[in-house]
Amino acid sequence: MRDVAVVSYAQSPAQRDAGGTTDVEMLVPVIDRALADAQLTRKEIDFICSGSCDYLAGGAFSFVMAVDALGATPSAQESHVEMDAAWALYEAWLKFQCGEIDVALIYGFGKSAPGDLPDVLSLQLDPYYTQPLWPDSISLAAIQAQMALAKGCFTERDMAEVVAASRRNAIHNPAAQLKGEFDVSDLLKEETFVSPLRKHDCCPITDGCSVLILASAEKARALCERPVWLRGINHRMESHFLGTRDLTTSTSTMKAAETLKLDGDKLDVAELYAPFSHQQLILQQSLKLTDNTRVNPSGGALAGHVLMAAGLDRFGAAAREIWSGRADRALAHATSGPCLQQNMLAILEGA
């Protein structure tokens, strides 16, 4: 395997509504910052890969417009995934393994505010048995929470504690949307939204974007004081059909962890992409994380959720922990689909 490292990461502020700002206008300053931090110019990028969702913009191939943010010249290999940009990172990693590139720029962006996100996400469901009923993303997550609560996997107080910790951690994250000190008992006094979920159990609606730069070993050492090495990456998915899955655990996460020989006890940090509070608990349990691991020091997706960039943000946030010296070994996790259908794990190390 070719060694690949994260050498730069930048993100826009997580905003509830970016108004008339276009995707390109959001991306340009963030791309500039990511390049500047690594002292790179656009000319040195071999491969560009993005993650976005045409359904958010409401037009087929709308992602092509965003390429303008990088300019048409000089020509570079370019690709796109209709998934979270964490999967764009995975594609770039494969291209490194093929020996085709030395520097890759990955970006993810999304403006969820103009549409109705829970309804839009309904369109990712199987189009015959499920989607015609228009079950929204919050309702599906709520069923998962109900089943896990009924099974005794965790309590509603545990869920509220996840929310309080997310917002407390986010105080130190200038890009975060929701932050502050919240009392768990007060959170539990709030009425339910789609029962058993309360509004605070659900990630916010966010407009924004993120950019991450990967480099091969020789380049990385030249570009970055402490490259964050990508030691392993694995992606697994479960059935499209909710009824054939055990929603109270994350089988695909466990399979990915097993493949990576991940020891949940030996991680300084885990950045988990959990759009709902109970999903963080399901992931922590599936990964067998212990108190040795700080979970979501950035605040995670509950503190700001740019759909199609939130998974890439876990890589960026984990890398920041290593760059700062607060961690040597971190886990980045990304998810896609209803109720944690797909999961990707990556191990990041400072040395």
Partner: protein
Amino acid sequence: MTATEQRLEAEFELGFTYSRSLGPVIGTCFAAFAQKRFLGMRRSDGSVLFPPLEYDPDTAEALSEWVELGSSGVVEGFCWVKQPREKHGELAPFAWALIKLDGADTPFLHKLRVGEEQSVHVGLRVKPVWVAEPLGDITDIAAFVPAAEELTS
């Protein structure tokens, strides 16, 4: 006539505007809805999938053994929607439920119409409310209701 007088116009619908056939498995399942019947699909381990799938989700094995299922089922998981979204097509609060039909081993998602949240629980027996004229679609079932209630469409 000048070129500027003739403007080209085209209808545009944002959506998946292709027509498609349902295939032998989903098609058979939906055709049975016309007779208000539920057909499941047996897997090699003997368990029965509903909704029926062409391939085993775990082993990818092709499946073809049909199994007649009962006409009602039980709730395995649920959530309560206080304020239905426009797309839900429900006028009053309702539950989304994973419902396991009698004879099936996997539950499927549908709406459950019931007066109040407290009335929904795991194990609740429910039955379908069929629409007057089934079209061969999952929406041929308007919703499920508690089995103890009279059928009301």
